[in-house]
């Protein structure tokens, strides 16, 4: 199994007719994702590969039947509109890769997701992949030393660190059940704590790896999940930005240190005191994971 997406997921793709959109839509299909329709206003009647294009989400669903999910290759300034079009059509999982969604749009997207019980992943992310099964996003799944199927759930705020850290998971002999890029924005649609809830319920996920960074409170919320026993599987965390100078903005809008709160060290401390294992360096993630799982498997390992 996996979380959020698998072979049975039926997806539509908005913005599939652009160069990046069509490139990655092709790869999504190649990996096994069921893409039932594409949506680009003004281009109904065209095709992306074998996939028919429609003007609107409603018209796509009327013609092709139900869809569980929508993949958005839509520029940031049009993302809010596209998200609300999907919500209006009753789609329950939306992935948006747009980098640069205005903050107030992101707040409304997050508020709408909560109000409607919809899962919205992103923006500023590569998306989500269940290796060997399905992908809504842009991952070089053909790089085997990173995207090997397995039983570790990975969640990340950073696209560039995802490959770096996941390669270490694979190097230690593990693979990935589902990788969720929650994205690097300060207001993501789905938060780490919500990914953990899904990973906890997945019988084919044994442990989680979290790739965090300075800024915001998502890592602290994950620590709270462990403390309250809402997440009981091993969690290995890597948090970037331990030496980031205060007040400097390191690229991601979310990565702002203010008044010491939200610093990488605060997060690492919160996670450690909740019982998570933390890796100072990406290279340590695999070893810590092996340690945590061995500890869990052997009853003799469970000591005070």
């Amino acid at each position: 199994m996996s979380i959020l997406i698998d072979r049975t997921t039926r997806a539509i793709v908005m913005g599939a007719t652009g160069s990046e959109g069509s490139f990655w839509t092709g790869h999504m299909v190649q990996l096994g994702t069921q893409v039932v329709a594409a949506v680009t206003p003004g281009k109904e009647g065209e095709r992306v590969g074998d996939i028919p294009v429609y003007h609107t989400v409603r018209r796509a669903l009327d013609a092709r039947g139900h869809a569980d999910s929508a993949m958005l290759f839509v520029p940031p300034r049009f993302t809010k509109d596209a998200v609300f079009e999907c919500l209006d059509a009753g789609i329950k999982l939306i992935v948006t890769v747009a980098d640069g969604i205005p903050l107030h749009d992101a707040l409304q997207i997050r508020a709408a997701a909560r109000a409607s019980g919809t899962t919205i992943i992103g923006g500023n992310t590569s998306g989500i992949i269940s290796p060997g099964k399905a992908m809504l996003g842009m991952f070089p799944y053909w790089i085997e030393r990173v995207y090997k199927p397995g039983r570790i759930g990975v969640m990340t705020r950073s696209g560039s660190l995802t490959n770096e850290v996941t390669a270490m998971v694979v190097r230690a002999g593990f693979g990935v059940s589902t990788l969720v890029g929650v994205g690097g924005d300060s207001v993501p649609g789905m938060r780490f704590a919500e990914v953990l809830t899904a990973l906890e319920l997945d019988p084919e996920t044994d442990a989680a790896v979290m790739i965090g960074e300075l800024g915001g409170t998502m890592e602290e919320e994950a620590a709270d999940m462990i403390r309250s026993k809402a997440f009981t599987k091993p969690l290995v965390a890597f948090v970037a930005g331990r030496h980031a100078p205060q007040g400097k903005r390191m690229g991601h809008a979310g990565a702002i240190v203010s008044g010491g709160k939200g610093s990488a060290l605060d997060k690492i401390h919160a996670l450690q005191s909740a019982g998570a294992l933390t890796a100072d360096r990406a290279s340590m993630v695999g070893t810590l994971l092996a340690e945590a799982l061995a500890h869990r498997a052997s009853p003799r390992g469970i000591t005070a």
Partner: protein
């Protein structure tokens, strides 16, 4: 993008939020002359974007031309590179309040913060007496309702006559915050005068960079950047931070660049600049390296692990950049991801040694920066 106080106050006035009637001055002489015209006592406030100017003595209340001279000379001579002061009449007041709007990421709401005890010690108050700060979430889709502004006024313990004057300030600040796509709109202190009216004694506004496309009225000034290189990088859309160490980071992706920064410090090195040329900038290798070279670093460290940002195209760009710029310092490359086999071939053909392990690359760069072998 942070706005200066005088810019924020001009916007406040557009939204009918009262502020003191101040004037800008850019020299000691004009500052004194302005103070004389406004009358004493008045306040001379340096216009800088960094926080903590009050504690650094860069905001002063003055009672005479002599005091105006002393304060102005001190401000313009400080190492904060002050270019302008805002001179305002001192406002009699009986109370200082705090009011702000910002984003509450977990809920997707706007966060309204307010306190009847505002002023410079607000952060201290937040720590020692958090119940004195009222937090309310404002629905981001619906927007603020008049009842929410009224409720805040009464919860702050304001008298009914004063509450009637306060609630409109809350609604106006919210309107400005939303219409200008601010990530923060803050009034601290908000003066309550003896007559029961309100005046924004200070104004902080930070505009969401991602929304600047719909706000062409805001332009960053050259002097607001850390360095000329930082300004040029910004014009190019390349994320860049200026430091003063030995190793120029030319990496792809904010997360990876931040992690590489951590490793450089862990291994005892220092960073000359943070530069990120991933995502939409991965074809800008030449420009990126040019900016790095201008810092005269001891090493340029290139680390990438890209998806959309194709490794082979970045490698081609790097080789072209070396050919054009002929940097004299060593270059360490660790380029992986989509197209990496071809990238490594390109780098090897150009006489570089492509590494594939980030830690090895950083150790090598730190050793080279200290004059050692990789």
């Amino acid at each position: 993008m942070k706005l200066h106080e005088f810019q924020a106050k001009a916007l406040f006035r557009d939204y009918d939020i009262p502020t003191p009637q101040g004037e800008l001055a850019s020299t000691v002489a004009s500052s004194i002359e302005t103070a004389n015209r406004i009358g004493y006592p008045c306040v001379i406030k340096s216009q800088v974007l960094r926080g903590g100017r009050g504690k650094a003595g860069l905001v002063d209340i003055v009672h005479s031309p002599e005091e105006a001279r002393t304060a102005s000379e001190f401000i313009f001579a400080s190492d904060w590179k002050v270019r302008r002061v805002l001179v305002e009449p001192a406002i009699d007041h009986v109370r200082e309040l705090y009011l702000s709007f910002s984003a509450d990421a977990p809920s997707g709401a706007h966060l309204l913060l307010a306190s009847a005890d505002g002023g410079v010690e607000i952060e201290e108050l937040a720590r020692t007496a958090p119940d004195k700060i009222i937090r309310a979430r404002i629905d981001s889709i619906r927007g603020i309702m008049p009842f929410e502004a009224r409720a805040l006024a009464y919860d702050l313990g304001l008298d009914p006559a004063i509450a009637k004057n306060f609630a409109p300030i809350v609604e106006k600040l919210f309107r400005l915050y939303v219409e200008k796509d601010a990530e923060l709109a803050e009034i601290n202190p908000l003066f309550l005068t003896g007559e029961g009216s309100f005046v924004a004694a200070d104004a902080k506004l930070s505009i969401d960079d991602n929304a600047l496309f719909r706000h062409t009225e805001f332009q960053q000034e050259d002097a607001d950047f850390d360095s000329d290189i930082a300004r040029e990088a910004a014009a190019e859309g390349i994320p860049y931070l200026q430091f003063d160490g030995d190793i120029s980071l030319m990496c792809a992706g904010a997360g990876l660049t931040t992690a590489v920064y951590d490793l450089v410090v862990d291994f005892g090195g220092s960073v000359a600049n943070y530069l990120e040329f991933g995502g939409p900038n991965y074809r800008k290798s030449v420009r990126a390296m040019e900016l790095c070279v201008r810092n005269k670093p001891k090493v340029i460290l290139i680390v990438t692990f890209g998806t959309i940002a194709r490794a082979d195209i970045m490698a081609e760009g790097i080789v072209e950049a070396i050919g054009r710029l002929k940097p004299t310092c060593p270059i360490v490359t660790c380029i992986r991801g989509t197209g990496e086999e071809k990238a490594h071939e390109i780098l090897r053909n150009a006489g570089l040694t492509p590494l594939i392990d980030t830690e090895e690359a950083v150790r090598s760069a730190v050793a080279l920066s200290k004059g050692g072998r990789p």
